[in-house]
């Protein structure tokens, strides 16, 4: 009986193998060759000609006008330097990369890393990928290219773990900017708000005039939390805000409660259909005169410029209420995943990303400023020169929503969920207790 069973099992195993082979053959006839490279999983992912084709796969969530154009400019430089390499632009749409990050994790866990991927320097890079040993250190590249003194130390610290550098920061965005429609403000005789008191006065006047005061998105799930983070910075100041991440300020403290009350009041002046509006559409509302203000990072600048507006003319900008003198740093960087299918191409990509030529081509289109300190201010417009000045002089604080201040387990889920819920139920206790508890579980006490 047991022998019989064993032979059946054997036969079954054989049949199963045959079925698997059958599955494979018609689907990707080219893929059935034995994997000669070191990364068989990657080989499978690229059903291609003999010897592995010469490609570079770059993973990002840059799909909107402006950011996509900036990425294309980087690709253009890469193509000039390496005309024989085919570039695969692996993008997944959706705001601050919420969906893209999901896909990226699936791929990384599945052993199918892209050659290089967009990642926010800070906790998103370090906690997700470096501590867990998915990344290759690239200190050697910084030394080869002489980059160590070309980037501000504060930025390098964000991508450093145990003395090794792990990614190249390509740009710096400012998270705390209030954009406003200058025509609407002029017609109503209003000044752009600097403080929370200003804001509520202006918003009240706008609402009385029948104009949506503050455009907010929500479809990409991050927009509400983004507003909350800017309000926290404005109300707590840079030190108080930093305290949230090092544990010296509790989420349940009185200051945070007061800030959250301000946030709740601001929400009363937003568009009711926010949940179906993306951040770009919310910015578009300001551009089209359907709303007066929008608080969003300065990637919105790229959007405004690329849809034909001039910053400082149709669209005005000031730091978000209360946050003058602080600079909410949002950055994007590229690293080198272990097992990158085309490692040489990826390293060459990083060389482009870190080069002055690359950063000067990328950032004006993207609506950000260079991470390098030697970029020519003249390639940027007035807004970005203003941003560069502030970056050099302001208190720099990390964004949580955009992956720098806290790990994903806090910033990419609990923070987003809790603020989205708060818009509807306005339960301050619930919000703050949820955040405090999640903070203790995820990033405090480490």
């Amino acid at each position: 009986m047991t022998r019989e069973r064993r032979s059946i099992l054997l036969a079954v195993a054989l049949v199963l193998v045959l079925v698997l082979a059958a599955c494979q053959a018609p689907a990707a006839p080219q893929a059935s060759q034995p994997a000669q490279e070191e990364q068989p999983a990657a080989e499978e992912a690229q059903p291609a000609e003999e010897g592995g084709e010469n490609v570079l796969e770059i993973f990002s969530w840059w799909t909107n006008p402006g950011e996509a154009d900036g990425l294309a400019a980087l690709f253009e430089i890469y193509r000039q330097r390496h005309p024989d390499v085919e570039i695969i632009n692996a993008t997944v749409a959706g705001g601050a990369g919420t969906d893209a990050k999901a896909v990226l994790k699936t791929r990384m866990l599945g052993g199918d890393p892209p050659d290089s991927f967009q990642v926010h320097g800070g906790q998103e890079l370090l906690a997700n990928w470096v501590v867990t040993d998915y990344m290759e250190p690239i200190t050697f590249l910084y030394e080869e290219e002489g980059w160590l003194d070309k980037f501000p130390q504060a930025l390098l610290d964000m991508v450093t773990y145990e003395g090794e550098l792990y990614s190249v920061i390509v740009n710096v965005h400012r998270g705390n900017v209030l954009w406003y429609n200058t025509a609407i403000f002029q017609e109503n005789g209003l000044e752009p708000p600097r403080t929370f008191d200003d804001f509520f006065q202006v918003a009240e006047a706008l609402q009385a005039a029948g104009i949506t005061p503050l455009a907010m998105g929500g479809k990409d799930r991050f927009e509400v939390a983004h507003l909350y983070e800017d309000v926290l910075l404005g109300a707590l100041g840079p030190d108080g805000y930093q305290g949230l991440w090092d544990g010296s300020v509790a989420w349940t403290s009185d200051e945070v409660r007061a800030a959250t009350e301000l946030f709740s009041r601001m929400l009363d002046y937003t568009n009711p259909d926010y949940s179906a509006v993306s951040w770009a559409e919310a910015a578009g509302m300001v551009a089209d005169g359907k709303a007066a203000m929008n608080i969003m990072g300065d990637w919105a600048a790229g959007y405004f410029i690329n849809t034909g507006r001039t910053l400082g003319e149709e669209i005005g900008y000031v730091p978000s209420p209360g946050s003058e003198g602080s600079f909410m740093v949002v950055n994007d960087s590229f690293g080198l995943p272990k097992g990158a299918p085309h490692r040489e191409n990826a390293i060459n990509w990083l060389r482009v990303v870190g080069s002055r030529e690359g950063q000067e081509a990328f950032n004006p289109k993207k609506g950000s400023i260079c991470a390098r300190i030697d970029c020519d201010p003249d390639v940027f417009g007035a807004y970005h020169q203003f941003s560069m000045d502030d970056f050099a002089s302001n208190a720099l604080v990390p964004s949580a929503v955009h992956g720098s201040a806290a790990p994903d387990a806090f910033a990419a889920t609990v923070l987003l969920d809790a603020t989205l819920n708060f818009v509807v139920d306005r339960d301050i206790d619930l919000l703050l207790e949820t955040l405090q508890q999640a903070a203790e579980e995820t990033y405090l006490g480490q």
Binding site: C23, A41, G94, V103, R107
Partner: protein, 282 residues
Amino acid sequence: MIRRLTLTRALVYGVLLAFAIYYLFPLYLVFATSFKRFADVSLSTMWDWPSPISLESFAQAWNGRPEANIRGIGDGFLNSVRMVVPATVISCILGSLNGYVLSKWRFRGSETLFTLILFGMFIPYQSILIPLVRFLQSIQLYATISGLVLVHVVYGIPITTLIFRNYYAGVPNELVEAARIDGANFFRIYRSVLLPLSIPGFVVVAIWQFTQIWNEYLFAVVISSTRAQPATVALQNMGGGQFTEYNVQMAGALIVAAPTLLVYVLLGRYFLRGLLAGAMKG
């Protein structure tokens, strides 16, 4: 009497037509929007019929914006074809064999086995997703079309087995018995008795699997890289990003829907039979 009757009939037709509109008006919107030019798309005229008719949006939806390196759904569409064809063929073969065994060669416990197989049809795939990803990774089929084919074949086993089993149950046992008395073995009986009668069964199963696999999203989004990305994922990505233009989104929706709609229009009778077979046991 006559008058009352006609009034009732008019009412019946009226209700039926009203519901026909409910089912058709989203389709109208898709056609009306996707054949518009960019310049003609605006929210205030979204329900108007396009004039002039333009194929601009279809070209954009298919090709993307190559100058900005934004992919259209063309590649995804071709990936879907590469995935769906082998998966459907293999599903049919496996389902037919299983159905044959479970209807004509029952053995001790075969009913229990069948029930256990059937359960696989109903599970939420979230409950197998994480181990599935890791398993595919370990056999190096993750993020490949082959991997997707394997997954669709395996999770298609319950429904294809069910349909074929019920189909073969309608074939008289006397035919099988007679063939066996003539000395035919398992395979002979399958080939010479069941298979010739199976064509409609194969059509039903093929249509069912084709539409299911083509339309599937969860596996498609989790087990795919950019290169192996099926059309549904490509469409969903398009909606969230660059193409906030609705005409391109609708054109994309139409392109993705076209193959299954075509199958439905051409083979609707079988499609219905597949649905009912999937719905009702025995």
